[in-house]
């Protein structure tokens, strides 16, 4: 096996981090760009290129996850869903504060799912109203 084959195989492995739909659309051309930019005799993806692929894959997945409401019922019952998410978020924060108050530091961890619920509620409201 030549160095280029090994390099391509490793790039392909990194590209598997992207969602399937995005890969169908772009994998071949991204691979072309990566191989065109690779120095002669290179066998392993560079750290900067790898980090860029990982960050891009995370960004694309995040973008797809938070895009427009995907289901009809989500659109139809958006008011209820937004209220429910806000309520769950507040409840998580209260529980987190109680845990924190009881002297356990990991109560702060509750802030993360709470923030996600608030964020999704905001996105849904924004998507329906725009």
């Amino acid at each position: 096996m030549t160095g280029a084959d090994g390099l391509e195989r490793r790039y392909r492995r990194l590209l598997r981090l992207f969602p399937a739909e995005y890969r169908r659309e772009h994998e071949q051309e991204i691979l072309s760009v990566l191989m065109a930019g690779a120095a002669e005799g290179r066998r392993r993806p560079g750290l900067a290129d790898s980090a860029d692929l990982v960050m891009s894959a995370l960004f694309i997945r995040w973008r797809e996850m938070t895009r427009q409401p995907r289901w009809k019922w989500e659109r139809r019952h958006w008011r209820l869903i937004v209220r429910l998410r806000v309520a769950i978020g507040i409840w998580l924060l209260v529980v987190g504060a109680l845990v924190l108050g009881a002297g356990y530091w990991w109560g702060v961890v509750m802030a993360l799912p709470a923030a996600l619920h608030f964020y999704f509620a905001y996105r849904l409201r924004h998507a329906v109203q725009s």
Binding site: S32, V33, G37
Partner: protein, 105 residues
């Protein structure tokens, strides 16, 4: 508009280009300052396509590899022209305040 986006649109303003062509062109336009990487480039191209500022021009297979050429759409040209005008207006003000005596050359 982010600088990378501005430079990608500028690269395509001269005619259609494929991914690697855009990267080398952007590097040249920015005097070596901006070196786009593959993941970042396609994240940007994907978004520009969704916003209909660019579109696929054609596809070629060279050495068994896919080359997809992109080009500006009319809305893309307008967006770039507006952005360029805005940047120039800002630059003119900055230059005139730094050097009130002489006009911007």
């Amino acid at each position: 508009m982010q600088e990378a986006t501005f430079l990608i649109l500028t690269a395509l303003a001269g005619g259609s280009q494929h991914g690697y062509g855009i990267i080398t062109d952007v590097e040249q336009i920015s005097d070596g300052r901006v070196r786009l990487r593959a993941g970042t480039l396609y994240t940007a191209l994907d978004r520009l396509r969704a916003d209909t500022l660019i579109e696929v021009d054609r596809e070629e297979i060279v050495d068994n590899r896919l080359r997809r050429y992109y080009r500006l759409t009319p809305p893309g040209e307008k967006r770039l022209a507006d952005e360029a005008a805005r940047l120039r207006a800002n630059a003119v003000v900055a230059m005139s305040r730094l050097n009130p005596a002489g006009a911007m050359r």
